[in-house]
């Protein structure tokens, strides 16, 4: 589904990703871990097409197509979804209005039926159960006055409505207490099917107790320093990121990560 080859990218002339290689297949959950500043969030934003990030080398194939040539909204309509670390507020626009517009854009793109506000309300009510959100959130402005946990739940609700093929969750666990974490993670698990894939970007192993990855990739200084199964996350949790940095040092600067 997704093939990242030797991806180099940065912001304002500063290189952050220094040659990422990663393959994600249908039905898989991948965790991207790493210390602060290792490039985790950059990778998520580059995949989603954030305009401030510049790709300087490498390629990204999504279902065989060059993802990097697609505008952010086109990527979204093709099924790429990013749950934001810091969801944005849109004052005066109700959650339901926003979600219906997004949903119908996708439907239009797929040549499927668009829903009117009443039909959509039913769909929304159904999907909201995934993250245990009540109806009052639908009439409130997008993320305005939401608590940190509510914002993150709202991200997963959007995922539930848009049913992406590839979901990238950017530090969805940050700022969540344990109950909210369980709800959010439970929602994500309900949305996993054999036909989609999820990339979980996280600093901590904690989230991976709930969303169990098939593969763990540890980033350090813009490269994948270590890869493995879910046990790698536990190893990291006990040894800390300094362990990776040491490994990286042993390999020597500039060496390809894998």
């Amino acid at each position: 589904m997704l093939e990242i080859k030797n991806l180099h990218a940065g912001i304002e002339g500063r290189e952050i990703l220094k040659g990422i290689n990663l393959t994600v297949n249908k039905g898989e959950i991948h965790a991207i871990m790493g210390p602060n500043g290792s490039g985790k969030s950059t990778l998520a934003k580059v995949l989603a097409g954030h305009p401030q990030y510049e790709v300087t080398a490498g390629e990204v194939l999504y279902e065989g197509r060059n993802l990097l040539e697609m505008a952010p909204d086109e990527r979204a309509r093709e099924g790429v979804f990013m749950a934001f670390q810091y969801p944005i507020e849109v004052p005066g626009v109700s959650n339901a209005q926003f979600l219906r517009l997004a949903y119908n854009e996708k439907q239009k793109h797929l040549g499927a039926d668009e829903l009117d506000p009443l039909e959509f309300k039913d769909l929304l009510k159904e999907r909201a159960k995934v993250v245990e959100m009540d109806a009052s959130f639908m009439t409130r402005s997008v993320n305005e006055g939401f608590s940190g946990g509510e914002k993150k739940r709202n991200e997963i609700l959007q995922m539930a409505v848009l049913e992406p093929k590839l979901a990238v969750l950017d530090e969805t666990d940050s700022g969540l207490d344990i109950d909210a974490l369980r709800v959010v993670a439970g929602g994500v698990n309900q949305l996993l099917t054999p036909d989609n894939a999820i990339i979980v970007v996280t600093h901590y192993q904690r989230l991976l107790n709930y969303i169990v990855p098939d593969f763990v990739h540890v980033l350090a200084d813009g490269r994948i320093a270590r890869e493995g199964g879910k046990e790698l996350a536990f190893e990291l949790e006990s040894k800390g990121y300094d362990w990776i940095k040491t490994l990286d040092g042993e390999k020597g600067a500039g060496a390809p990560a894998n």
Binding site: P51, F81, E105
Partner: protein, 478 residues
Amino acid sequence: MSTAELLAKQEYKYGFVTDIESDMIPRGLSEDTIRLIVEKKNEPEWMLEFRLKAYRHWLTMTEPKHWPNLTYPKIDYQDVIYYSAPKQKATKKSLDEVDPELLRTFEKLGIPLTEQKQLAGVAVDAVFDSVSVATTYKEKLKKHGVIFCSFTEAIRDYPELVKKYLGSVVPTNDNFFAALNSAVFSDGSFCFIPKGVRCPMELSTYFRINNSESGQFERTLIVAEEGSSVSYLEGCTAPKFDKNQLHAAVVELVALDDAQIKYSTVQNWYAGDEEGRGGIYNFVTKRGKCAGKNSKISWTQVETGSAITWKYPSCILQGDNSIGEFYSVALTNHAQQADTGTKMIHLGKNTRSTIISKGIAAGKSNNSYRGLVKVMPKAEGARNYTQCDSMLIGSTCGANTFPYIEVMNNSSSVEHEASTSKISEEQLFYLQQRGISQEDAVSLIINGFCKDVFLQLPMEFAVEATRLLGLKLEGSVG
């Protein structure tokens, strides 16, 4: 914001010109011009006196160029044609006798006038250059006692009402542009809602400027007697010309005891091109007087057009417990300039006013809110709430807020809130990441920003306003 290069491709679908023969008077302004207008319109002596008085006063006044936050070349008032009317039969028995070219023009503007096609639920007075060419549903309204007709007919058929109220809210010497209008106004709409009547349909006037050389000087007068209510809509468009046209209108509203007037405007005059060539100079005086107790006047405006907008729809809250409201969205793009806002003058006890103003600036435009809240000594217990929000799109535009607050008693409360924001790249990216195109994303953000105002608009107008804002901003971000 790095991606906000102002490309600015604006569609203006009302920019066509109607090819029609006009009856024009020579350029320039003098007492003879006014006599000629009076003669053309076959007006009584008292109207001539009203006009001459205004004109003579106007000669002593200077154009307000120093205080508005507007820059424009000197207007040569002798280079304007003050009267231009499409040639047509003097008396029309029915709407179907109106020149088909004019009917086609209004139909193209979305305002069908012929009886078979008339808009349901909305009576329309159609003004083309200097004259009203048709008014729909006149007879139906008359059955309810509601008078809705062109100003010309009002002077002819209801002289006592016109004499009583004309200039009672905006005196002829009120300001430079109001004086000019009082001297030369050629037509407009007159509405009278008698005691206790709720007007059974929306009333509206559609203003169309067609002639590149003439200005439009129209007058609207709405009188709501005791316990009556009316909702009035106003729309305006003009063709694309390289030259600027002058539009100086006066609107007067009078609400007696327990009466309510709701006045909504979607102003979409031609705004000029990207470099600021052409467009309407829009200098308008709009004022309502809540003359009676418990009366209410509500202004809602969506200002998207005109090269220059100078306009402050105001309320004089004279009756005790009367209410004034002002809801405004002013959008400027390219080289447009707007200096707009309101005045709430509290005279009566326990009078209340609300001001919600949303200014949106894009391109190289300049958008100013200017508002006065004045609470007089006898207005005990008066309350005002003002909220002024500005939104900037890109980094080459400007937004300003000039609030003036004068409170002369200590039992009143005045609140003022203001904010300035930008459409951020992050906000756009967030919406785009959900599959919404950049243009739709801008539209969505702007509409959210304007929600409090749009909620005040009648349904059809709200849809139109939403569409219009999207259109006006096309290509301004990206």
